[in-house]
Structures are given as structure tokens and as C-alpha cells.
Assembly symmetry: C2
Homo-oligomer: 275 residues x 2
């Protein structure tokens, strides 16, 4: 999917919501455990109930890998379902991969070609040749970790490297990578006050913003500092939507939560004449 | 496996060789492609031919993920074979994972509990709460990326963060994490001259050293600056051993290459009266 297609979907749906599919057998409604593939059935129900309210889905790969081959099958079925029934959705493999060149190329092949995700999250620690293999795929997007939403972000990311914070060094350096036009960045909502400075370095790139809701970030602050004329934001909510109800009505309640967020997003965009 | 067990194996075998199982269908001998599970058959043959010469095996998870469910099955069979037939081997899931706390916990469960690897490689960018879930497993080891063997290492790792290089900051900060006694570190052989300074910060932790051979690092230099009284090194070779011959004799030739390296390692240890 091109960035233009994504912007088109955002304007059409008046939403820049991304729903995180962190599907956990211990948290899904117990009645689903009788199904042959409870993870897929849960995802399918969530997707069917929310697809008109969001523009992206983000399975966190750890949750699938934790179930071995079964989990991998559920992931394959989920992405096939999305690509088949809702091809307008932007899909994100939240995998946080990154390795030496020939190995990153393997991960890129797995997630972009075989599973046919539109994008993948990548950790920047190993630098240029660990990121560029992902950037070489046309109309695929590499979402580099910049400033994450967790406490550990203060261990290294916000420390000053040769005069400026490491996450800014990541933004600046990655701009010079071959294929940099395919870069997006992870910036946690819990650190929204950093967004103004981030926008000075990357005025236009899309940001994937986790941490709204469950982790305490505010949508208002994210928009205030991060929104662009082409929106430039994908705000993710996982647990706050998919586990809003532990009962048989889980998909309906998830829809309500997604609808709340979509409504807030519409307001933010309308108040800035962006839609 | 405890660190003491690993040191015992190293002294017994007079080897601190780790063999990287970066198994690629395009590089294994063509006659194996007729097998039902060529990746496993290749690994099995390599392991059977080399197990007495090395103390560790390191499947790079990307190579398995690139084949989806089939690859995951080959990985499961490989680790089961290792744990069943050669339980004295130290096993490393070269996965370079790292995510927010509850997600890292999922990866830890997948690799430590379900697959029963002794260790996993982890990327440090997300800090404390992304690493500690791995450290909480008894007798399991977390091998943190410090200074990798690729060119991209110079993008961020060697840049100065508040006065000292980022990789040193990673070493120093991670020493304070809960469960730090379970930490090992990745330090590339291509940067052996950095090892003296690294040993000043972490005098005893085991180092996993990739980049000897194919990537140009020297075993002599690694030992000169990195070896400890308990050896403290696992030197990895992947392509240089497993793809030494593309023909039917691949396992024998792999054995010869492993034997060469074991011999060099024995000399390095003997010359220092370590065995």
C-alpha cells in the first residue's frame, strides 16, 4: 500500500486508528476456546466489528510466536483474512526485528513477501545495513523504533549522543538511508511532549503512536504536537479495545471503544480543517 | 544450563566454538531437497558431524521464520534433537528480540520454555523493562547486543552518549538490571580491538563473538583481548563451517573446518594455561 492510499483511507474513514491484535488465550472470552483456532476466531470477530472505524491492524508477533506453530498458523490466517476481505487496511507486523544485512533480508522476505504485510516494526540498534534490506521493498513500509512508550526508553533513547538525544540521532541518521522514503517511526504517546521536536526533524513521515489509553498517553497531546497536513499519524490501541469486555459481547464492546476513539480523531481532524 | 556447566564443557572439549545454523534452502546441498524436511536433515547432519568439536549451536531464527510454518517446524525439530541427543550443548536462539515488558515476556516464554533454548539474543534499544523479563528465568541466559560485527554498528553503537560510547552505556546500564547475573553480550570479532575496554566494564561475563572467518575477524585478537580465566568466550562461525562444501560431503567438510577452529582454540587456551 502506498502512503497516498493510507492518507486516502484516513480521510475517508475520518480515523487514523490502528488496532493492535495482541491476542492472548488467557484474555480472550472463554467461549472461544472451544473453537479449533480461537486466536483467529477472536481476531476475525474483532476485525469484522471494527474495520470501518480504523485504518490499520497491528498483530504483535510475540503473541503468535508464543504459541509456536499453532500461533504462526493463526497469524497466517489473520493476515490472509485481512488482505482478502479488507485490502484497504494497512497491516503492520509488530515484530521489532533487525539483524545483519543478509538476515534482515530474510525477515523482510518473511513479512513483506510471504505474509504480505504492508509494514514491519524494526529496531535501529544495528544501524544502516540492518535497516536497508527492509527499505528496498516498493510500497512496503519500515517503522523504525525511535522513542518507545515504555519506561526503559529513558535507559538509552533519551540519553544524549554527541550532543543530542539518541532517538534524534536515529531520526537524523535513518533519513540518509537508501529507501528512506519508506520510513515511518514509532513514537510513544506517553512522550507526546517530545513530538514537537521530532516534527522538526521529520516533518512529514508517518508516526505509529502506541500508548494511548492503557499506557496513559493522551490523543489530544499527540495531535497537538504530531499531526501534519496529511495527518501523518497512526494511533494504536490494543488492550483498551480488544479486551474491553471479557464476555460474549467482546466484539460489540470493542466496536464501541473503537467508535469512541474514531469520534475523537474526527474531532481533532475537523478542528484543524484536515477533513 | 548453568554458566559453570558451560565452562566445564569448554574445558572438557578444549573448544569454545559455537556453530551458527543459518540454514538456507538455496545454499544446502541439492540432494537434501528431496527430503521431507531438508532444513532439519541438514542441521542434523551438521550437528552429528561437529558436536564433539563445539559447545554451542546457534540457529538464527530469521532463516526459519523465512519459511513460515515449515521453517518453524524445522526449528522445533532441531532444538528437540539437540536437547534430546546432545543435552550438553548450549543452545542459542539468535532472535534479537526486545519489546515492552508484557511482550518480551511472551518471547521469553516462547524461546526459554516452549522451545527450551538455553539462551536468546536480545536488542537493548528499549531498555530495562524490555530486557528484564528474559533475565527472570533461572539458568537461562540473555545475550544482549553490545557491539555487533556489521558496519551499521558505527551508526549508533560507537557514538558517544553522555561522554562514552553507546555500547559501553549498554554494558554499564544493563549491569544494574534485575537478574544481571544471567547476562552475556554480543561483541563482534571484527571489532576485537574494543575488547580490552569492554573487559574493563564486564571482566567476567561471557561474550558471544560473531564475525570470525566469513566476516574477517581474527580468533587470535579476540582471545588476546577477551579471554578470561573461565574462558568467557563463545566464538561463532556459521557460513564458514556449514557451507564449506556444497556437495554430498558437506558434513565431513564442516567437521574439518570445525576441527581446525577447535584446534586453534585449544592452542589459545593451552598457551595461557587455561586447560
Amino acid at each position: 500500500m502506498t502512503t497516498q492510499d493510507l492518507v486516502f483511507q484516513i480521510r475517508k474513514k475520518k480515523s487514523f486508528l490502528c488496532i493492535g491484535l495482541d491476542t492472548d488465550l488467557e484474555k480472550i472470552p472463554p467461549h472461544l476456546l472451544q473453537e479449533e483456532d480461537p486466536i483467529f476466531e477472536f481476531n476475525k470477530a474483532i476485525i469484522d466489528a471494527t474495520h470501518h472505524l480504523c485504518v490499520a491492524y497491528k498483530p504483535n508477533i510475540a503473541f503468535y510466536e508464543a504459541y509456536g506453530i499453532k500461533g504462526w498458523k493463526s497469524l497466517e490466517r489473520t493476515i490472509e483474512y485481512l488482505n482478502g476481505k479488507y485490502p484497504e487496511q494497512f497491516t503492520i507486523a509488530d515484530a521489532k526485528r533487525g539483524d545483519i544485512g543478509n538476515t534482515s533480508a530474510r525477515y523482510a522476505k518473511a513479512f513483506f513477501q510471504d505474509l504480505n504485510f504492508d509494514s514491519i516494526t524494526v529496531a535501529p540498534y544495528m544501524g544502516k545495513d540492518s535497516v536497508e534490506p527492509f527499505l528496498s521493498f516498493k510500497d512496503k513500509h519500515t517503522i523504525l523504533l525511535a522513542l518507545t512508550s515504555n519506561l526503559g526508553a529513558f535507559d538509552f533513547q533519551t540519553k544524549k549522543i554527541e550532543g543530542r538525544e539518541l532517538y534524534k540521532e536515529v531520526l537524523n541518521t535513518s533519513k540518509t538511508y537508501q529507501g528512506a522514503q519508506n520510513l515511518m517511526y514509532v513514537v510513544g504517546a506517553t512522550k507526546a511532549e517530545y513530538l514537537a521536536e521530532i516534527r522538526r526533524i521529520i516533518p512529514e513521515n508517518f508516526l505509529l503512536v502506541p500508548g494511548v489509553g492503557a499506557q496513559g498517553g493522551s490523543l489530544e497531546a499527540v495531535c497537538k504536537y504530531g499531526i501534519t497536513s496529511d495527518i501523518g499519524l497512526l494511533v494504536n490501541s490494543s488492550r483498551g479495545i480488544i479486551y474491553a469486555s471479557p464476555a460474549i459481547d467482546f466484539a460489540e464492546v470493542a466496536q464501541d471503544r473503537a467508535s469512541d476513539l474514531q469520534g475523537q480523531m474526527q474531532k481533532e481532524m475537523e478542528s484543524r480543517d484536515l477533513i
